[in-house]
Amino acid sequence: MSLLELRDVTKQFGGLVAVGDVSLTVEQGSIHGLIGPNGAGKTTLFNLITGIYGLSGGTILFEREPIDGLAPFRIAQKGITRTFQNIRLFKDLSVYDNVLTACHMNTKYSVVEALFRLPARNQGEKKLKQETEILLDIMNLTDRRDVSAGNLPYGFQRRLEIARAVALKPTLLLLDEPAAGMNPDETFELLEMIKQVKREFGLTVLIIEHHMDLIMNLCDRIMVLNFGRVLAEGSPIEIQNDPAVVQAYLGEGGNHDARY
């Protein structure tokens, strides 16, 4: 079943077509890769799906309902969340509080119940704290739970962003270059974590990455963007052997990871 469907999605900035007529279907339970050279429009596509930018054309369906035009927080409440290429954590809050904050929708106690510490509040908080601890464990962040997010090493910050996103119990998780700036060991560790959270939380994942090993290893399907247009779409093997992709992006033995 298709979870997310983009139909002829277009985004223009003035005269620049950042994303042009992109159609894409993401199957429920799959890991879908999104690759392409710098400036290809990958992040813009995420901003369109999460409602941060409005569409210039086309529609986006999530669970078969149109979601374009909804405010970002509504789209998040429907079950789509993301991480950011340029990390956006709650810097002055602890690792623990970053995740705990993101759990807020998993309990429903009201402002009045919070003010007076009524039983619903206490039960809700207990539940959120358990969920937070489980997530920190999975993402290997428990040792640093009291550190301010802004003081974490880079690789940990990226992991914390994933933990914070998964805390909403989303259906669809968008990861924007989660391995950027990581060394091969860290990247491998991250790969395992992504697989684990996907399995345990029954997620569907759409991931942007420049580490080709990670993408080819992880994804069921891959879409290649170039200058805002779809260059190719298929299984990892099909993509690796696609002449247009090899020429435009993968290059002749060229190593795109070298830039990072």
């Binding site: 405010a71 998040a76 950011f84 810097k91 002055d92 809050l93 759990c103 807020h104 003010l115 909403l168």
Partner: protein, 295 residues
Amino acid sequence: MSWAYITTVLIMTGINLLAVIGLSVLTGFTGLFSFGHAGFMAIGAYTSAILTVWLGVPYYLALLIAGLAAGLISLVIGRLTLKLKGDYFIIATLGFGESIRLLFNWFDPIGGSRGFRIPSEIHYTSLSDVIIINLIALILIANLINSRHGRNFKAIREEEMASQVIGINIFRYKMLSFFISAVLVGIAGGMLAHLTHFLIPRNFDMTKSTFLTIMVILGGLGSLSGSVIGTVVLTFIPEFLRNFNEWRYVIFGFLVVLVMVLRPKGLMGGYEISDLLRWVKRRLVRRRGEKNESA
């Protein structure tokens, strides 16, 4: 110094404190700066005075209604201004505060610029009133901050876009924060009215708004303990400096600048007293552990 004088200063401190707790929710925890909250104070002050003087409403009920009146106005103002970006919001609050003051200045039935006197047979705000109301406010606000709703305030202060993508309706939470701050500042206004028993719009000008915001900042944004300390320090200093006449505000300003240079995040800088106690405790435990090891 007479006991009556000391009591008055303490009551004044308590009234400022209530207003600062309210403003702390908005500025310290949600990251929105206001230079118009004296307007809400004025609304609370006049509402409560009208209620007790003209309608014979009991003091505490009048304070509650005064707070709600200020809150109601904040919802209207918030709807109009909270979608504005940070700087524009500040200007809008400034405009609001001054408009309210001018409105009361111009409105003659409640004395206009000549002021409004509360007869002496009506209740005077006492030290116990101040203590009771502040304790309730501190407990309720601390509860709120330690809840999913309070954490959403902090998330908005830290990163608006990240807040949105984790499903926080930032407009709604800004409204809530603005409302809570207006209610508390409104109640503080009511208490002030019944302390001085004389209301004059001039007392609710931009200087008053600025003073409240300075107390929050000096105490440390995002710390309720900081707000308490900031208020006590900043209410007492001008009193101690009374002998310096005009110069006291120069000295006062200089001290504020000095604190901000030495501690840019304010006296408490985002920490609560409870955090400090925990830190000291951890230290002691570690110290003891080291001693045991070396023994």
